[in-house]
Structures are given as structure tokens and as C-alpha cells.
């Protein structure tokens, strides 16, 4: 393929004032119009950084090296850093207009249920002037020319918002130019809509009809400016998921649904203990069992390849393995908690004349991700190359790790990214695809590896156990200080965040990416005097990972519970107290919205109550108003009212789904479940004892109010509601019971029998 340079047309692209100078939009010379916009040179991207101004520009120069002070997240958050790391490659998007009038688009992120493929398609279709139904959207393979592709920190839509529109506007200009040439018309009289270019006299040419001519154009004769938001017809309008039909008919394909030729099922026998290893094994019985294809020791255990997973599981059970213990032999979660308590020594400001002190210490347990689709991957490893399939949130480092494990150059490895059945941070890590590659290489044939549900939980990754100490000092109605000390098991960010942040900073960061992540994700949006939040991490050999937040899931939950307890101490209404202290207008607006829509303060029977919380993160704000009934054997959240302001909602229906979805995460995390460690083993294994919220624990009503555009730019959404809803539930529980719970989960219901199929 050869590339040609798009001639500059407008110095200014769009409304943000991003300079076009230095931006080399290379187009593939293909029969059909195809944009595969390649990386700019380092010099050009530096120029773009200068042009961006504002937070991103500042980050590279100043802020990252100085990330030691609190409230950093108000100025630059982790999403900014992710966007910045990906910045030089952000236009590396594949958009193709086919002669059949389809628009093919590869999303360079992982669709894991959060709805980014629908949101990104909406942005593309609107800017291009295409019908959403004319788009064919797939997920991009790992691309070495996009080294910092990460689906995390609620950054997907934020990071793609401007690049997708810029590329789409360039394509639209070419299509209009091609139509103008065809008709001999003034291009400024033509408009692109419904996947065609329309002449004022009613003539039309479809994009498909124009594609070949548009691909040959070297000089566009119309502007490629981004649309004014007033022109949007898709962005901001509720859209159903573009893959809904595939999902409800069973056509949606996850990794193990792919029909990769000759790929046989594989499972791995894993040590009972975390980090345990194989001492010896005897596979003579298992090898002779029906359907068994191969049995081979791999780094994480003993792999069984068989005709079906049923046969693989049966043979796995028949293996006679002697295991070595792991690093946590004889250790339980109570011991780990003691270790954290011993390290929890960061002082908090004390006393003071005439000050009231409100303080509490919260304990959060380990928490596995437990996505519906267990960890799984497909691998076809040959002598000189490998092709692997894994729904990865960090596909490039996953590919690089596979290549290193196999002893192949990175260019010889292809990593396809199928849709995944949930992730919640789990798929930032890539153990399954490395294991699958290892097995395929060892047995000399393609394999599809599946972790059993127990494997997935017990050998998964966990939100770190933490102790969160919070103290506020109040004089009269003034909060003088608000301080948070988090002592936690170390969070593993070794999935590219470190490299990414180093790249963003333009230098290798010292050890302790966690401090950067901490200070770029948690902030205190109140006028609470001197507010400090500090993180102390303790290395504990339980694998960890971000869990629908980096630190906010615990830090902000604790903070928002404390805000209620401060209000109680001051005998003030929690909504009135927040209104009085909030230093963020958007937060006040969402708080007022839930108070009005959720009828804050309405009278409720004994044992029932409302609770409220707010959260500001990733350029977005939200408020949750929760109603709870604590009179039954298990408390039940009965109604939730949400108001959310993400700056600009691309798809309000998808945003509503995210805000609804966290409700069951929050119910689970604060009321029902958490993981325990007994003698180095994780106690809970499956949904039968790891008690995720089900239909009968879920509110009958969850009403989400999406605020009209404020900042005009989409903020993050996927993680936003989790700490907010969690705190609101605890606050409602406290108001209903008069108790002040500080250890989670508050209730650990007895294990029910879910084995019957239907009532």
C-alpha cells in the first residue's frame, strides 16, 4: 500500500483550536475511500501538544513530575494521562467506505459491555453524515503503532471523541469534493447526510458510489471543519446498542465462540494456594480418559487439552498432582489485615481548641472481578508466528508479553480482540492469552483455553484489601481539615500504566506509579479547609487489579460516608450540608436534581431510609439517592435516583445503563460479598458462595437523569457511579438502622440454594 498526504485545508480543526499544522493525515491509496491515518513524527506531535494547550499540554511539561500533592485530580486526572500517552497515535483509526455503501470502522478499544462501540459509532456517523445502521463496527487488533492503547480509567470515549470526529470530517470533505467534481457543483452547496451527498436540487450520490473517486482526490475543495454541536443528529440522542440484535439471537461471538480451525478445548489444573506450584504429577490415569488430546505442564499448572471442556475437566480431576505451597501458606485475611494495621501509621492532624473531631476507620475486603465470561483465550502458535485471540484492555503489552514468552519477534504475533463478557479492570491483565500461547506451543496445535469459574475467582485478581482512616476537624460550621489515610495491599498497575505514564511525562518515572494513580484519581470536591489524602501500600502476594475504579471505589466511598457523619455531628441535613460545602457547581446541580426527583426527605416507615452521595471524577459528576429497606432478613435497596453530568453525553441511553449497572456492583460490595483468604487459599469460588447481587436484591426502580451538556466534552462514565452508589447505600443503611457500619460487606447473607432452574 502506498500513502499520500492530505493537503492542508484549514489551519483550524474544530472548536477546540487544535492546530492542523504538522498533522499529516495519510490516506491509503485504495480502490475504496479508506482512512488509515498514520502516526505523525515526533516533532509534529510535539507541535500538536503545544497547540492543545490546557491540561494536556501542561501535563507533559510540569505536572507529572510533581504529582506529590493532593487534589491533583482536579487539575489533571488519570484519564488525561492515558489520553496524553496515546496522543501521538490518536489518529491511527481505520475507517473505510466500501463500494456497497457500508462504513467499516475498527474501534481501538475493548468493548466489554460498556457500550463504547455504540458511542464511537455514533460520533463517527454523525460527523461523517452517515446513518448509524450503515456502519460495520469491529474491534481493532493490537496495533504496535498504537503502543499505549488502554481501555481503562473511563477514558475510551474521552480519548476518541476528537480523533474520530477529525478523521470523519476529513473523509466527509473528500466525499463532498468527489460529488462536487461529479456534478460540477459548488461543494459548499452540498451536504452529507444519511450516508450520501445531497445536492440542493435533490440529486444524491451514496458514499459507496463516491468512494472510489474520493479515494483518488488529492485536493479537497471544501472545508473539513468539525460540525457545530447544533448540527448533531445522533450525538446526544438515545441509541440502542448497535449489537443488540446479535446479542439477543446468540450471534454475538466471545473468544470461545470463535470457530478457530482445529482449536481444542484446554483447561489448567491450578494450585490450591495462591502462587502454588507443581512439585510432581502423574497423568497416567488422566491420559487414558475419553477425549483427552494432550497433557502438559505449563508455568501455572498442568494443562489438559481435550475434545470437549467436559472431558478436559474430567481428566483434570483425574490428575494426581503434588503441589508446593505458595507465599501465603498459613496466612488468612485476618493476618493480612493485621499487616496493614501495622503499616497504618501515617499521622492525622489532631485536636485543636473548640474543634469537633469526626473520624472513622473503614475496612474493605479483597474483591474479585468475577465477570460473566470467565478468563479465556485462543492461541494458534506456529514455528515462526502466532495468532492469538483475547479480549484485552491492554492489547499491545499483552502481545509483547506473548511474543517474549514464545521467543518470537513482536511483529510475528497477531493479537485479535474479540468482544468480552465483562471485565471491570480484570482484562487489563493478560495471563490467559500468555497461558494459551504457552500451551499451543507446547502441544503443537491450536487451543482454546478456559478458566473454570473457580479458577477465575480463586486465581483471579482482587481489589486490594484496604484500611481507610478519615478524620475531619470542625469549628462551628467550618470544616478546618479533612484527611484521609489509606493503607492498602499494593495495587498491581503493571499492565502498561507505568510505561504509559513514563511516556506521558517524557521520562522514566521513579518507582511508585501508584502514588501518581492515587493522586490523579481521588479528590475532595468540598470546601473542607486543608484536605490531604495519602496512600501507603504494603506488598502482599495476593494478585491485585483495578476494580471498576483505581482507588475511588474505596476512597470516595469512605469519604462520602464521612460527609454524612459530619453532617450528623453538626445536626445538619446531609443534602443541605453538601450543598453548603461543595465547591463544584456541577456537583451542586446533580445533587439538587436527585433531591428533587427522588423526593429527598419524604417520610418513610421505620427501618426504611434514604441516603445520598456525590462524586466528581474524570471530568464528570454524579449524585445517587438511594432508598433502602432494612426490615427483612437481608436489606434491600428498593429505589435509586441518579443524576449524572458527563459534560456531554454521547449516548444518553448507554450512559443510563452504566449508571444503572453500578447499582448491583455497589449492593454487592457494601452489603453482600467480599473475598476471604484461608491458609493461602481464596475461600469463595463461584456465584454460589461469592454472593453477587441478583434480580431479587436489585431495586425495582432505578431512575437516571442525564443532565444537558455542560462542558461540551464527554467525561468518563464507567466507574463514576460505583463509589457514589456504594456510599449512598451505606448512608441510607445508617439512617435506617442508626448504626455506623465501617467494615464491608455489612451483611454477609447465608448461602442460598440457587441450583433449581425456575420457581
Amino acid at each position: 500500500m502506498t500513502t499520500i498526504e492530505t493537503p492542508p485545508t484549514n489551519d483550524e480543526i474544530g472548536r477546540k483550536g487544535v492546530s492542523r499544522r504538522g498533522f499529516l493525515a495519510a490516506m491509503v491509496a485504495a480502490p475504496a475511500l479508506t482512512a488509515v491515518v498514520m502516526s505523525e513524527s515526533a516533532t509534529a506531535s510535539a507541535g500538536l501538544l503545544d497547540g492543545l494547550g490546557g491540561a494536556a499540554g501542561d501535563v507533559a511539561g510540569d505536572l507529572v513530575p510533581d504529582l506529590g500533592f493532593p487534589e491533583t485530580a482536579d487539575i489533571v486526572d488519570l484519564g488525561d494521562l492515558i489520553i496524553l500517552a496515546d496522543f501521538p497515535a490518536r489518529y491511527n483509526l481505520l475507517v473505510e467506505v466500501t463500494p456497497q455503501n457500508r462504513v467499516r470502522f475498527e474501534v481501538p478499544r475493548l468493548e466489554k459491555g460498556q457500550g463504547i462501540s455504540t458511542a464511537c459509532a455514533s460520533i463517527l456517523a454523525d460527523e461523517l453524515g452517515a446513518r448509524l445502521s450503515d456502519l460495520d463496527v469491529s474491534l481493532s487488533d493490537a496495533r504496535l503503532d498504537r503502543p499505549f492503547t488502554i481501555t481503562g480509567s473511563s477514558s475510551a470515549v474521552r480519548s476518541l471523541w476528537e480523533p474520530i470526529r477529525t478523521v470523519a470530517a476529513g473523509l466527509r470533505a473528500r466525499l463532498i469534493t468527489a460529488a462536487a467534481n461529479e456534478w460540477g457543483a459548488n461543494p459548499f452547496d452540498l451536504v452529507a447526510r444519511d450516508t450520501m451527498v445531497v445536492h440542493p436540487d435533490g440529486r444524491t450520490l451514496t458514499f459507496g458510489e463516491l468512494s472510489a473517486a474520493a479515494a483518488q482526490i488529492t485536493q479537497i475543495s471544501t472545508n473539513a471543519e468539525l460540525k457545530d454541536p447544533s448540527e448533531y443528529t445522533i450525538i446526544g440522542q438515545p441509541q440502542g446498542r448497535i449489537d443488540a440484535h446479535d446479542i439477543v439471537t446468540g450471534k454475538a461471538e466471545y473468544a470461545l465462540d470463535l470457530q478457530v480451525p482445529d482449536a481444542d478445548p484446554a483447561v489448567i489444573a491450578r494450585a490450591p494456594e495462591i502462587g502454588g506450584t507443581v512439585a510432581s504429577f502423574d497423568s497416567s490415569t488422566a491420559s487414558a480418559m475419553p477425549g483427552v488430546v494432550a497433557i502438559v505442564q505449563v508455568s501455572s499448572g498442568v494443562a489438559v487439552v481435550a475434545r470437549t471442556y467436559g472431558e478436559a475437566f474430567a481428566a483434570r480431576d483425574a490428575l494426581d498432582i503434588t503441589w508446593n505451597g505458595g507465599p501465603l501458606s498459613n496466612t488468612s485475611d485476618a493476618d493480612i489485615l493485621d499487616t496493614l494495621k501495622a503499616a497504618d501509621v501515617e499521622p492525622l492532624p489532631t485536636g485543636g481548641l473548640l474543634t469537633k473531631v469526626v473520624e472513622d476507620t473503614f475496612e474493605f475486603p479483597y474483591m474479585a472481578h468475577a465477570p460473566m465470561e470467565v478468563m479465556s483465550a485462543v492461541a494458534d502458535v506456529r514455528a515462526d508466528s502466532a495468532e492469538v485471540w483475547y479480549g484485552s484492555q491492554s492489547p499491545v503489552i499483552a502481545l509483547q508479553t506473548v511474543a517474549a514468552r514464545l521467543g518470537l519477534p513482536e511483529s510475528a504475533v497477531t493479537l485479535h480482540v474479540p468482544r468480552s463478557g465483562g471485565a471491570f479492570g480484570r482484562r487489563l491483565f493478560y495471563e490467559p492469552v500468555v497461558e494459551a500461547a504457552e500451551i499451543s506451543q507446547a502441544v503443537g496445535q491450536p487451543v482454546k483455553l478456559m478458566w473454570s469459574r473457580n479458577d477465575d475467582t480463586r486465581h483471579g485478581r482482587f481489589r486490594p484489601m484496604s484500611i481507610n482512616r478519615v478524620r475531619a476537624r470542625i469549628a462551628g460550621s467550618n470544616v478546618l481539615t479533612f484527611d484521609h489515610r489509606m493503607t492498602a495491599a499494593e495495587l498491581d498497575l503493571g499492565h502498561g500504566f507505568g510505561e504509559m505514564l513514563s511516556a506521558a511525562a517524557g521520562q522514566a518515572l521513579p518507582a511508585g506509579f501508584s502514588q501518581t494513580a492515587f493522586h490523579t484519581t481521588v479528590s475532595v470536591p468540598y470546601d473542607f479547609g486543608a484536605a490531604t489524602q495519602l496512600l501507603t501500600e504494603v506488598p502482599i502476594p495476593v494478585p491485585t487489579g483495578s476494580w471498576r475504579s483505581i482507588y475511588s471505589g474505596t476512597v470516595i466511598t469512605a469519604n462520602e460516608i464521612m460527609v454524612d457523619r459530619m453532617a450528623t455531628r453538626l445536626r445538619t441535613d446531609p443534602v443541605a450540608f453538601r450543598r453548603d460545602k461543595l465547591d463544584d457547581e456541577r456537583a451542586v446541580a446533580v445533587l439538587d436534581k436527585v433531591a428533587a426527583e427522588g423526593q429527598w426527605g419524604r417520610s418513610m416507615p421505620a427501618g426504611h431510609a434514604q441516603g445520598v452521595a456525590i462524586h466528581v471524577e474524570y471530568r464528570s459528576v454524579c449524585a445517587y439517592l438511594v432508598e433502602i429497606d432494612t426490615t427483612g432478613p437481608e436489606s434491600r435497596v428498593t429505589k435509586v435516583t441518579v443524576a449524572v453530568d458527563v459534560g456531554r453525553a454521547i449516548n444518553p441511553k448507554g450512559l443510563e445503563a452504566q449508571m444503572q449497572g453500578v447499582v448491583s456492583d455497589a449492593i454487592t460490595a457494601v452489603l453482600r460479598a467480599g473475598n476471604r483468604v484461608d491458609d493461602g487459599r481464596v475461600r469463595e469460588g463461584s456465584y454460589g458462595d461469592f454472593l453477587w447481587a441478583r434480580m431479587n436484591h436489585t431495586p425495582f426502580e432505578v431512575n437516571v437523569h442525564v443532565m444537558p451538556p455542560t462542558t461540551g466534552e464527554p467525561g468518563g462514565a464507567g466507574e463514576l457511579g460505583l463509589p457514589t452508589c456504594s456510599a449512598a447505600i451505606v448512608n441510607a443503611y445508617s439512617r435506617a438502622t442508626g448504626e455506623s457500619p465501617n467494615k464491608f460487606p455489612i451483611e454477609r447473607p447465608s448461602i442460598p440454594d440457587y441450583t433449581e432452574v425456575t420457581g
Binding site: G240, A244, P265, R307, F424, A657, Y687, T755
Partner: protein, 155 residues
């Protein structure tokens, strides 16, 4: 190992398998019908829920010999031959229920069974029937609305 005749969505396939082999792995791994998902393997999450002779069952804990002579319907077999969606599938689209979508084949097959038994299910009926299916994305509020919408459209 015996030859088992397994009928899935109207097509019968002879499969070599032990009598007690779990139906799910034969349907997915040998016959290649992948709508029913593995979520737990022990009948507690509902991701594989399909129908046996019109009633919901869990292929992951049902021996293949117990399906002998029966008609298995998976999510792929729910719509009409001409592609017209079942009212429950249509309601799932209308309410935009799915997020990751992985549990939804099982949720839909359970909901179809519920409405067949109780044409106008109450909230309590929905809680009771649907509590056997886990959704980690938390789509429950929309599942509830979709069941009510589908039930109304079928009455």
C-alpha cells in the same frame, strides 16, 4: 462412550459421549452451537439456560442421556424461521437491556419460560424466576422492564 442423538434447534446430531456427559459441552464443543454460555458449570448462574421440550433447563448440569428423544432449543432457535424475533427478544432490544451480553441468552430463555408459566408476572414473580440468573453488568432493572413489556405484548 455411546452414540447419543442430540436434537438442537431441530437438527439431530449423533455424538460420541458418555451417558452422563454434560449436555452443554456437547452442544458447544461438538455440535458448535455457542449461544448457551459457560458461566459456572454447576447450575448456579444460568448463563447456559436453554429449553428442553419447551421448558427451561441447565445444559451444564443435565446429562446428555436425559435429553434423549427431546427437543433442545437454544437462544439461536428462539426466533421464527423467517427471522422474526420472539417477543421477549424484541422487548430486550426495545428496552436496550444488554451490556456485555454474555448472560443474556440465559436470561432471555429463563424469561420466556417465566412468561409461559405466568402470563402477567408481578415483581415478586420476576424476582423469584430470575434470581437464578446472574448478570454481572447489573442489567436487572431493564430485564424487569423488558419482561413486563414482553408479557404485555403477548397477552
Amino acid at each position: 462412550m455411546n452414540v447419543q442423538s442430540v436434537t438442537v434447534n431441530g437438527t439431530t446430531t449423533d455424538v460420541e459421549a458418555a451417558d452422563d456427559a454434560a449436555t452443554l459441552y456437547l452442544v458447544r464443543d461438538v455440535i458448535g452451537v455457542t449461544g448457551p454460555k459457560y458461566g459456572c458449570g454447576v447450575g448456579i448462574c444460568g448463563a447456559c439456560t436453554s429449553h428442553l421440550d419447551g421448558e427451561a433447563f441447565r445444559p451444564c448440569v443435565t446429562a446428555v442421556s436425559d435429553t434423549a428423544g427431546g427437543q433442545i432449543t437454544t437462544i439461536e432457535g428462539l426466533a421464527s424461521d423467517d427471522g422474526t424475533l420472539h417477543p421477549v427478544q424484541q422487548a430486550w432490544i426495545d428496552e436496550d437491556v444488554a451490556q456485555c451480553g454474555f448472560c443474556q441468552p440465559g436470561q432471555i430463555m429463563t424469561a420466556v419460560d417465566l412468561i409461559a408459566r405466568i402470563p402477567d408476572p408481578s415483581d415478586a414473580d420476576i424476582d423469584e424466576a430470575m434470581k437464578h440468573n446472574v448478570c454481572r453488568c447489573g442489567t436487572y432493572p431493564r430485564i424487569r422492564k423488558a419482561i413486563k413489556r414482553a408479557a404485555a405484548s403477548m397477552r
